[in-house]
């Protein structure tokens, strides 16, 4: 991180004017700070993906397999035959440019190949050359070019400079989704063993231990116990979570980041407190799982098949534990997978029941097939029915704004539920400007597996539009807390804020809920979950 330029220098470097030379004649320049390290061969091997080997993006020779061109060609053809989206998106772009400045990476870097349309053209040019008559005959005139090692490197660099956020797709008149194209591009790269390690190793970990961080079951339990102690210290109440419990009402799955990294841990404590409240008051029994201890799915950043292999654990564990339905925690891409892929990949979940909240009687019709409810939907329903005892004043030291995470926004459409919750547990809430929230929200800059340490510059420029909008409400309304419903956000936004808007912190939704939640039998709380004094309690020592 020491190489990271100062934020002002980074800003002044942004130049959206394209170079004079055609993009096809401009070979890729793999630049430090802008790429992630190559996948560790052990991780690639562990999950049985092809061509595991050591390689270095900065070196000339990537140790490609002999027949790499053939592998790409065949892989390309197979995907065209399997995905209508891919085929149609290869054909119908009119290069109107409407998507160009919608991408946070283009806004932040000015690199023309970060315009979604050009990112897609990197593949399209090869498609035209290999699969269309016009491209074969007219070559470059028709926008076709041959597959070469340079093109392959360009693919690798730019498909790992896309966070699959889908903002471009909202603005494209034909709905062309560059995230879909990036997914295909990454699948092709993976056929040659060309992943990044921030994806490959979490995938292997998740496969083996059930979660990205490779936390083994006993360590997982330790972490939860640790939270239980903390909660007791803060509230005087000892919560008693169940883990791997058969016959519980529901199974709860959240990203493992919440269990291991601040400030996600506070959100995790928030879940524990909410579940305790529901158990005490309504006898609602929720279990955690160590086998399915990961909501996030880095498989989806690798290939559709890997996505399926990792996602399978959720239904399998729900079946084993014999629960009624599944509740999912706050995560971004986890919800893209659950909402749009899970039932198709690993369903039908006919061994589960249509989710009904026994507390409010609400039947979650919108999840009646997948049988998995988002915790924001669940909690909003509880609050609406007046089932939670809340004291929003305990969050009065916070002026909150909300970051819509890309995937729940453009791959699901969850906008009102979290806002409803925030408005009920906090007294001060201010949305960011309309062009930067809801379906037009900007990515944190680190999604789709890019939140590594070595690509910090990429993450900071990618997160610029988001940070800029936060800065706006920070200056205008004194906003000091950025709430989100995504574990990658909770990991990625703190350094982003630190870099661009240092006075703003980052929180999960259920941390705010738990601060406001009055637990049965709790003692007088003097601090919030972070151990900071609650509003009105600051003066304990300095009381006059």
């Amino acid at each position: 991180m020491s190489d990271l330029p100062k934020s002002d220098d980074l800003l002044s470097k942004i130049d959206p004017r394209p170079p004079a030379k055609s993009w096809m004649d401009t070979p890729v320049n793999i630049r430090k700070g802008m790429y992630c390290y190559a996948s560790n061969p052990k991780s690639v091997e562990y999950v049985g993906l092809p061509h595991a080997r050591a390689w270095n993006p900065l070196e000339e020779d990537w140790n490609l397999p002999e027949n790499w061109k053939e592998i790409i060609y065949e892989g390309f053809r197979e995907r065209l035959d399997k995905f209508r989206s891919f085929k149609v998106f290869m054909d119908i772009c009119v290069r109107c440019g409407a998507c160009a400045d919608k991408c946070h990476f283009f806004i932040g870097t000015g690199d023309p190949k970060n315009m979604p349309v050009l990112r897609a053209e990197l593949l399209r040019s090869v498609y035209r050359n290999d699969f269309t008559t016009a491209g074969r005959i007219m070559g470059k005139m028709a926008g076709a070019r041959e597959m070469t090692v340079d093109v392959l490197k360009e693919w690798w660099y730019y498909f790992f400079q896309c966070t699959e956020c889908r903002r471009c797709s909202v603005f494209c008149p034909y709905g062309i989704d560059t995230a879909e194209i990036t997914m295909m591009g990454r699948e092709l790269l993976n056929l040659l063993g060309l992943n990044i390690d921030w994806i490959a190793t979490p995938v292997a970990n998740c496969y083996r231990t059930g979660n990205h961080l490779g936390i083994q079951p006993h360590a997982f339990k330790d972490m939860i116990d640790f939270f239980v102690d903390d909660i007791e210290e803060i509230t005087g109440v000892r919560v008693e979570p169940s883990i791997n419990k058969k016959g519980a009402d529901i199974l709860f799955i959240t990203p493992s980041g919440d269990v291991f990294a601040d400030p996600g841990t506070y959100t995790c404590m928030g879940y524990l407190m909410l579940f305790h409240f529901l158990k005490e008051k309504y006898g609602f029994d929720i279990t955690w799982s160590t086998y399915a201890s990961e909501g996030g799915n880095f498989g989806s950043f690798t290939s559709h098949e890997m996505m399926k292999r990792l996602n399978a654990k959720m239904f399998a564990e729900a079946r084993r534990l014999d629960v009624k339905w599944i509740l999912g925690g706050e995560c971004g891409h986890m919800w893209r997978v659950i909402h749009q892929y899970m039932d198709t990949l690993n369903g039908p979940a006919d061994f589960l029941e249509v989710p009904v909240s026994p507390i409010t009687g609400t039947r979650f019709e919108n999840a009646k097939s997948t049988k998995m409810v988002h915790i924001a939907e669940f909690t909003a329903d509880l609050i609406k029915h007046g089932k939670l005892d809340l004291n929003p004043g305990r969050n009065d030291n916070l002026r909150v704004t909300f970051h819509d995470s890309c995937n729940p926004s453009r791959g699901m459409g969850m906008f009102e539920e979290p806002r409803y919750i925030i408005k009920n547990v906090c007294n001060y809430f201010h949305d960011m400007p309309a062009n930067t929230i809801r379906e037009q929200t900007f990515c944190c800059g680190s999604g789709a597996g890019l939140n590594a340490g070595e690509d910090m510059e990429l993450r900071m420029v990618g997160g610029l539009p988001r940070a800029n909008a936060v800065k706006h409400v920070h200056e205008k309304y004194d906003v000091n807390m950025l709430a989100c419903v995504c574990a990658i956000d909770r990991a990625a936004l703190p350094p982003l804020m630190e870099y661009w808007v240092p006075e703003v912190g980052v929180t999960g939704l259920h941390e705010l809920v738990a601060n406001a939640l009055i637990l049965p039998g709790e003692g007088e709380r003097t601090t919030d979950l972070r151990g900071e004094p609650l509003p009105g309690m600051e003066g304990d020592d300095a009381e006059e």
Partner: protein, 333 residues
């Protein structure tokens, strides 16, 4: 000088000369008036069918709707029925809004970074307006031309013509659509040349159809207001073509007419093999033409296949001791 638009411009000029010289000097009326149009129509219909069938042959494995508004979840939260449809009816409205009004393009903004490092997003309506004007003018011109292919001319076509010509500046009546078409095509061309990013992404395949359309509009306007062709003869030729009794009318229609016709034929034949197929493709775009309700109604992937997973048993086998030690329940003691 940009090679992409030069090549396209030269191609259109060559096409012009081919038709003009072909008819005026070589007397190839039969070729340009009958053979080429038939071939073009065959290429167009065959090509479009081929492309659509080819797309449709690839299945839609996942429901990957791009959601542009609030989902339908709790009963007291108002869903965005059209931007995030949960029903087929909602999808139909969404698609209609896209196809008839270019709704996504309507959202267009342009991002600006000012000196103080502040980003702002300004509503950018010109591309939307230009595109809308272009497509509707094109449609109107197309429908207007039905008067050459029908006898008697259907009332709606006549009505449209009257409407289109309401700006009665002189004789002949100015048909607004032709002028708008030309203006919009010029706008789209200028955009491509003047906006650096758009220029950077443009291919020859983007300039060629615009030049061709400008050629079509220009020759049409030229005939209507300036060179004044033999309209009766033109209709005779057109009627002959559609009734499959093609013949070259006596008296001659003029080289410019054949150029106009030839340009249209090139456009027809070129259409299915180019980006112009976006017209068909938009109907098949999976991010737009599906409801966002996959959690409520299961989507089936025709090629779904079993994959290797790490089962609970394998997991417990690896960690059993540690689990027992930590007091976690296990299946096998």
């Amino acid at each position: 000088m940009n090679v992409n638009y030069m090549v396209s411009l030269i191609a259109v000029i060559v096409l012009f000369l081919l038709a003009y010289v072909g008819v005026e000097a070589a007397g190839l009326q039969f070729l340009f008036g009958i053979i080429v149009p038939y071939l073009a129509v065959i290429a167009f219909i065959g090509g479009v069918i081929y492309r659509i069938v080819d797309w449709a042959r690839s299945p839609v494995p996942f429901r990957i709707t791009t959601t542009g508004g609030q989902q339908k979840s709790l009963p007291w939260i108002q869903p965005a029925q059209f931007d995030n449809p949960s029903t087929t009816a909602g999808v139909i409205v969404r698609m209609a809004l896209e196809i008839l009004f270019f709704r996504s393009l309507f959202r267009n903004t342009s991002a600006h970074l000012d000196k103080a490092g502040k980003l702002s997003y300004i509503w950018e309506k010109w591309l939307w307006l230009g595109a809308l004007a272009f497509h509707y003018a094109f449609l109107t011109v197309l429908v207007r031309h039905l008067r050459f292919f029908t006898e008697p001319v259907p009332l709606p076509v006549k009505l449209l013509e009257t409407l289109d010509g309401f700006l009665q500046i002189g004789i002949p009546v100015i048909q607004l659509s032709g002028v708008v078409l030309l203006a919009a095509a010029l706008f789209l061309l200028l955009r491509r040349v003047l906006i650096p990013q758009v220029k950077y992404i443009s291919l020859a395949a983007d300039f060629f159809p615009i030049f061709l359309l400008i050629g079509i509009a220009l020759t049409g306007i030229l005939m209507r207001y300036f060179t004044k062709i033999n309209v009766i003869a033109a209709k005779e030729l057109a009627m002959g073509l559609v009734t499959f009794h093609p013949s070259i009318p006596q008296g001659g229609i003029g080289g410019i007419f054949y150029v106009h016709l030839f340009f249209v034929c090139i456009l027809l034949a070129y259409f299915p093999f180019s980006k112009l197929m976006h017209m068909g493709g938009i109907f098949l775009s999976p991010t737009r033409n599906m409801p966002g309700n996959t959690r409520a109604i299961r989507h089936v992937n025709p090629w779904n296949y079993p994959v290797k997973v790490h089962t609970y048993e394998e997991y417990e086998d690896e960690f059993r001791e540690k689990m027992i030690e930590a007091g976690l329940p296990v299946e096998k003691e």
